[in-house]
Symmetry: C2
Amino acid sequence: MIETPYLLFLGDVPDQLSAKVAQGIKDWRPDNAVGQFRMQNCGATVGLADMSLEEAKQAGAKTLVIGVANRGGVISAAWKDVLVEALHMGFDLASGLHNLLHKEADLVTAAKNSGCKLHDVRIPTVQYPIATGKKRGGKRVLPVGTDCSVGKMYTALALDEAMRARGMKSTFRATGQTGILITGAGVPLDAVVADFMAGSIEYLTPDNDDDHWDIIEGQGSLFHISYSGVTLALIHGGQPDALILCHEPTRSHMRGLPDHPLPTMEAVRDLSLTLARVANAGCEVVGISVNTQHMSEEAARTYIDKVEQEMGLPAVDPFRHGADKLAAAIEAL
Amino acid sequence: MIETPYLLFLGDVPDQLSAKVAQGIKDWRPDNAVGQFRMQNCGATVGLADMSLEEAKQAGAKTLVIGVANRGGVISAAWKDVLVEALHMGFDLASGLHNLLHKEADLVTAAKNSGCKLHDVRIPTVQYPIATGKKRGGKRVLPVGTDCSVGKMYTALALDEAMRARGMKSTFRATGQTGILITGAGVPLDAVVADFMAGSIEYLTPDNDDDHWDIIEGQGSLFHISYSGVTLALIHGGQPDALILCHEPTRSHMRGLPDHPLPTMEAVRDLSLTLARVANAGCEVVGISVNTQHMSEEAARTYIDKVEQEMGLPAVDPFRHGADKLAAAIEAL
């Protein structure tokens, strides 16, 4: 667990896109952040109050979160002065960058001296068990995609919000670095050793109240050669009661694989259900999340209506239109 | 690559079953071993000449292979004197035990002093790439099982032998610790980090002659909750042209999962083919390998005949009857 609230470190990144992680925290867990810290020349903002380390400390911040991705995931020399000072002042540090805080000698030393923690959410710190496949109490829903990066995390976070708005009990369960930083906990599934993947998801989504829903962040796609094994471990470890199909209609091929066309939504539905029912015979596909970011409002509406009719399932773009339709479908189960 | 030939270390294990790895080397790559080394009270033999370290050195042995599994995968204190002496004499050491040679300070020191290598085949030493899904030259065949431990490695090794006997070009590609020790190379897939699983199999089975077959050692099962993600990474990274279904008819439930019944062979055939065709549209199921070790000769014959008729595919127990029928099916492709 990463201690909240955070101060969001935006460093000196040139543009808004580089601040994706900080933006996600601001959008989904605004109570987790007291403000943002920007260096000179920073080209990004997430719209929170600019604070010095001292001001953030006064406001109760416990952890300085590196909320940006720079080229190559590097912890730049320009950032070091701020990070070391933050450690001296008693902040923990948290990062999802490829280059680890733990590999930076000056940060390790400073953390040791001040008794502060370095959280590298890119790598697991838990020795996960082998999956047992035993039926657990509570319910689970998992978004599965026609491809990688089609909006599965966004769908899960929006669904969590919509279910709470309906008074349902739900918990978003992060399986990727951004999700872990947003919520302060989770499993960095892509960095888990093969034999323990499914077990890590059982660990992440334990026994719970009968009317509680874990909303598990999806990863990869069963049809994406590079990461399909990760997706299947999620399906089998998560033993979901409900699946949500996620699709981005303008993709011409699988992300990073120019020779591989996208599967149909029907193919993803059928294959995902067949596999999910190995772990949970009662699993159902309950709805469709369409990522229409590259479509006009009219084209999006037309497309979503068509998908609803063809698939016989509620469909929605949760970013444009909210996720309540999906929450309703889950409540109706 | 582990340097051959080996001296097989049987230590002081109490029974034959504990010498499974050494037995596999003796059975499948007899040319890789010059003899066996047994301590007092050793209850196992693989039928090779007993040799001292000195005699093995004279016979040309390069590596002392720990060919046994003891309780907990521990490198026992009783073994240490022999292992340290072997390093001093210039042997490399190789082990597939859970406890690593590299974690034993005295072995690390001895290896350093003598310039010898410690091979822990349980963990990867290569930084594997992310899978690209690009079509590679040459052909590949993969055994897929209704469950774990149904004979997939045995099937692959027997098939390799049968294909060579027919004059076909083939290479057994190890994906587990025993297979790696038998052949001296491979990928310890269960210990690879999630994101690189499929890439490790692409790395293991690179471009090759058009008429060359890689025979990939299978792992897990698509229907085994704990390891299914590993199996799917094998299918997608291996982009097999041919699959062989492996089954053990007397299992009452999935190995280690008492609540999970075995799937039918038809279900494994259909699901495996659907997934394999994502990576290689031309993939076919070519035959069935039945593990009849718990059946009488008559019951085995009857069962295999029935399976052949019902499935319309050549079926055989490669241990009892050889794998030539499967090799013929692959040659006929």
